[in-house]
Amino acid sequence: MRKTGITTVLRAAAFAVVASLPAASWAADLKIGFSAPATTLDPQFHNASQNIAVSRNMFDTLVQMDPDSQIVPALAESWRLVDDTTWEFKLRPAKFSDGSAVTAEDVVWSLDRPATIPNSPSSFTIYTRPVVEKKIIDEQTVQLKTAAPYPLLLADLTNVFIVSKKATEGLTSDKFVTGQGVVGSGPYKFKSYTPDDRVIMTANENYWGDKPAWDTVEIRFLPNDSSRLSALLSGEVDAIENIPTPDLEAVKNNKNLVVGEKMSHRLIFLFLDSGRDETPGVSAADGSPLKANPFKDVRVRKAVNLAIDREAIASRLMQGLAFPTNNIVTETMQGFVPGIKPSYDPEQAKKLLAEAGYDKGFRLVLASPNNRLINDAKVAQALAQMLTRVGIRTSVDAVPFAVINTRGNKGEFSSVMMGWGAQTAEASSPIRAMIACTNKEKGWGPVNWGNYCNPNLDAVTAKALNTMDDAARSKLLQDATQIVHDDVAIVPLYFQANTWAAKPGITITPRMDERTSALMFTPAK
């Protein structure tokens, strides 16, 4: 009821605004509405996507991901492999916003610094730890050594911002709030910051790349969906990220807004508890306890996979914001297998269930977040109906993200819908984190809520992660994906879409990795 009220109001507002927008006359300023507040301006203090999104505007990384999540040069003009464990990076002549030159010393400093920051809520050391030795060859050249062959180094480095040694030496992270230390070589430079409210930046005249498109950029933090959209409709901001799904249609139909959409690297999938003999969320069709965990049987997992009509979810529930898949990474990424396609066959699913001895089916509780993924609780409801149709009588347990995380890590679920963004732009990212056997020493499977374990998959993945040759590694990662698919280690559903909206006169370059920055928006020619 409440939700409908809000939506109607905003929808009415969306149409009312049509007549009142002025013809394109733009000051060269940009105001963007972000959906999550940054928690710090120290680009190395708290490893959280909303912080990285803000830092991106003022700082550079050695290499970066382009909108399609391919690695491209940034501060490093070029790089080469000296041997399997040594990488050499050539810096371009670049200057920090205070006018000083970016040197190899600053790079080494920036790679050392994350490990020295006290109280960091989530540290960047996960990206810097693989580098065991850093060598300055000359002012513009730096060599990084890893303990073993490590092809993901470049992907890791896309998250490590290069800070000025001079500006940050001896500086604690809380000082950054005033702009002290916020000295980067990015396209914009710091002007002011009000926590939880806004960051204001101006064009960095020292920037090495193309002249920044805007004189001033203001990032406003508008976590409330309705507020963010009304800020755009009222002209308070020029562009927003994450268009609220209930209003998507109104926004798309509004001729005075432009929309940017792109397939996200975030895979939405189901964990099925295939590891434990007894699993908490299932019971027999009559409600009595089950002797065995049905998901230990691959036929049951296959049945679940076949029972889901992904196309229906995409077209009816998600308004085109879902790209059905049975792969674990997108087409552009290493590890994608073209032959793996989603199929929907409820009859076959019933047959498989009967074969596995569940001709009467069983009962299942499907957990899902209700404030994290696009339409999450609604999708979970649809999944429950589809599973019920083949005989798995499913009820939904939808809870906030903060709660689902704690419960998931405690192993409270038999089946849960979650999302995973492949930050490294290849298949080892989801496999290592949530499909590989849980292994503390190796750091594998930290969020393996399905308790899946297949040594063969781990071996193939490990081999891929030791293979520096791109083609050979691609092949190995495809093998790994194939194993995940054949064994239904998880049930991939679809890739979510990322959305942005802006005033007309602004061109949006949508990104796969959900990281909004001022660089995505340019005045239309």
Binding site: S20, S227, N405, N409, G421
Partner: protein
């Protein structure tokens, strides 16, 4: 007076202690902050390090004991997310919310008192009836809905006022205030008005009842018979008596206003304490949540104390000793 104060202070401390304990254990049930805070890429080593750093690996009673011990010494812990003292994080936001609440209260009083008196003086007239039925709306419409309506009318359609956020500020003794510039005020109007609406209705109701009661009193009749001008009757004889309950109730409501500006601050993306609380709950920033509730509790206790004081000053019949009962 001294006994009165001591009693109230001890009572206040007790309330604080109970709140702190309840909140501490309640927040524990919210979930494990590390799960939300740590990057999804993090491995077990990273997670374990975060847990240890925040002291979350210790038994809950031990955590509670050290929390109490630190709290007694005025240390409510470091915010998990900001890495600095939770009280600092909150106190930085306090002026922002205080400013909003004071403006809202001023709006409520400026509109509520005159309307309430008018309705009380002429209960049968059209204006009286309109005011009273209008006040029902103010009671029953939810805050966040009013906020959204105001945004869609004044910001989206008419484009007169900004849709949210905080306006430019002017520093006064190091505290940034947006009330001092016209541009800053523009940002305050909609959220303050939204926050004021419920209180306005409340004041109208109290004033109307008060006016009707006082109006019947003999001294009012006498004043009228003596030919005292109506303006003086209303502003001196009537207002003074009507306003006492308004002060009591508004004092209590002011605390509530600061504590529960949450909905308004969320709808208007207003970076005050309420929004901080919501953000902190989403991030399970335990020290900030606990400290927030303790700070608001402290505000309540203090405001009650001030109200009792004011009450006694205004109404000579109430003496401090009377509060023994």
């Amino acid at each position: 007076m001294l006994i009165f104060l001591t009693r109230r202070l001890i009572g206040g401390l007790l309330v604080l202690f109970v709140t702190a304990t309840l909140v501490f254990f309640a927040v524990f049930a919210l979930g494990n902050p590390v799960d939300v805070m740590v990057s999804p890429d993090a491995d077990q080593t990273e997670r374990a390090a975060a847990v240890a750093r925040l002291g979350l690996d210790r038994p809950i009673l031990e955590q509670y004991a050290s929390f109490l011990w630190n709290a007694v010494r005025g240390d409510l812990g470091n915010s998990f997310v900001y890495g600095k003292p939770a009280t600092t994080v909150i106190l930085e936001r306090l002026p922002v919310t205080l400013e909003l609440a004071i403006v809202a209260m001023a709006i409520a009083l400026a509109i509520g008192i005159p309307l309430g008196i008018i309705a009380g003086l002429k209960p049968a007239s059209l204006s009286g009836k309109t005011i009273m039925s209008g006040s029902i709306l103010g009671f029953s419409l939810p805050n966040f809905w009013i906020g959204l309506m105001l945004i869609s009318i004044f910001a989206v359609q008419l484009k007169w006022l900004p849709s949210g956020g905080r306006g430019p500020t002017v520093d006064v003794f190091g505290i940034p205030l947006s009330i001092l510039s016209l541009e800053g005020l523009k940002y305050l109007i909609l959220p303050a008005f939204t926050l004021a609406l419920y209180k306005t209705s409340l004041i109208i109701r109290i004033c109307e009842t008060g006016t009707r009661n006082v109006n019947r009193q003999d001294y009012m009749r006498t004043a009228r018979a003596r030919g005292v001008p109506p303006v003086r009757i209303v502003t001196v004889h009537l207002l003074k008596n009507v306003i006492i309950p308004v002060i009591t109730v508004m004092g209590l409501e002011f605390g509530a206003m600061i504590a529960f500006a949450v909905a308004v601050e969320t709808v208007f993306s207003y970076p005050g304490m309420g929004k901080l609380l919501i953000d902190s709950i989403n991030r399970i920033d335990r020290p900030v949540i606990v400290a927030y509730l303790m700070v608001t509790c402290l505000i309540f206790v203090t405001v009650n104390l001030i109200v009792d004081g004011l009450y006694a000053v205004l109404d000579p019949r109430v003496r401090f000793s009377a509060s023994k009962a």
